[in-house]
Symmetry: C2
Amino acid sequence: MIKRLAVIGVGLIGGSLARALRAADAVGEIIGCGRSIENLELALELGVIDDYARDPADAVADADMVFIAVPLGAIAGVFAQIKERLPAHAVVTDGGSVKGSVLVDAHRVFGRVPPWLVPGHPIAGTERSGVSSSFPELYQNRRVILTPVPETDPWAVARVRAMWEQVGSEVTEMSVKHHDEVLAATSHLPHMLAFCLVDRLARMQSHDDIFRYAAGGFRDFTRIASSSPEMWRDICLANADALSAMLGCFGDEIRELANTIDSADAEGLLALFERARASRERYVDGLEPSSGGESGMLG
Amino acid sequence: MIKRLAVIGVGLIGGSLARALRAADAVGEIIGCGRSIENLELALELGVIDDYARDPADAVADADMVFIAVPLGAIAGVFAQIKERLPAHAVVTDGGSVKGSVLVDAHRVFGRVPPWLVPGHPIAGTERSGVSSSFPELYQNRRVILTPVPETDPWAVARVRAMWEQVGSEVTEMSVKHHDEVLAATSHLPHMLAFCLVDRLARMQSHDDIFRYAAGGFRDFTRIASSSPEMWRDICLANADALSAMLGCFGDEIRELANTIDSADAEGLLALFERARASRERYVDGLEPSSGGESGMLG
């Protein structure tokens, strides 16, 4: 049971955790904090939070659990703001899509990775933002990855794990490096492809016709290009090395395919498409369906 | 009203047109034809066709409308087989995803584009194949593009247009070249990206983890990579020039993005993502939803 939860950043991710913990009767009081007072007022009105503070230091003052759900570029600032006022018994976790940069931020602000900081990442989301998009089922049957370091207090990890399990998530642990590489491949790269595809087509001369004759599948394929530009800017900067490497690999694969097409290599094309279809059927069809019709791939 | 429809290739595309025309009471008799006798027997059993012939020449012998729905690589062969037995009053159309190659095939077999041939392309489909995947609503509220040439008989165009309108499609006409460029951008390129993405990830060392931590959005994004490998091999070969050019453009865009990330250009990243999101909201959200939960993007 969490007595007092501070949610720094009451958007889709932070708001949905607040709603889910409330629905699970697993939290006493919830204090929100964020940049937009309109969003905080709305969160209050919707019953997502019980109160809010404008200053993160005030929000965390009496909290036993702090969830930081702000864009990656704002995490260091939050660390600095809460540094002096965080209670000794409080556990802090976050929802950032890149974990290496969170450790760098911690080192910069605290001079170390504090034992009470449990870096985490719920693999869930939609392309929408703001507290009005949040819903209590977002994390049900979704994976949450925690990336504790040797300095992390096992008791703090256990508390964060219990919190996520109470909202229906499956919690796993892995190294920071592995997390950032896996996410570069499965989430960051596909988002980049969707953004680039829409941008490329919009810049073509016949873009009116191009979008007019795009069928429903195109909407599915590019849906993730409606995700928050600020969030993705921060993810790119925070996971630059892994993502840039993935883009390089993918660029090679695209070039290889163009060569295969140019040389009219029918066998080569068939082999590629058969391999991809078999892989997808083997791996992806085994995934559990996402709940509530929402296809989460945020971050 | 079509008296006798010959459907060459009774799969998702051919079978769905047969079902839809039957449901609209717009056809007398439907004769199927195809490579697989099991599929034809199934089509008969399902009531999709009234009878079948093994030889396309027999199938078209008494037809007043012929719909060729075989992979692009098989169209020239069908032309050659039906050449001698096609009734004088019959109209022939097709569902090929590339139109330039169909004209080349016609020239090769008939020495010209015959006036009774109306090249067409219904912008509809799913990632599944075979008559068991066909359903009568596939073409409702979907676009069908016809690409008649100056030699095409306007009466033949009118008959094909009426057929598609009877199954609920919106019919438009454009030039062969424009069609092939637009489809390279909106359909062929996204399919290539999905195939390449799945293949690239499957070839990575940690592919087990990679697919395990892929969320629901990844399944949507890569669903089209489950499409028929043979069909896509043929599309690549048939639309090689336009598709290779699109892949080249996209490769440049990817490289440009990698450079933007490498140089930590926060403004540049934000500008790209905002442009893409705005384009998608402007163009794609205006598309009508696809019917029946199926997201058609075939070919």
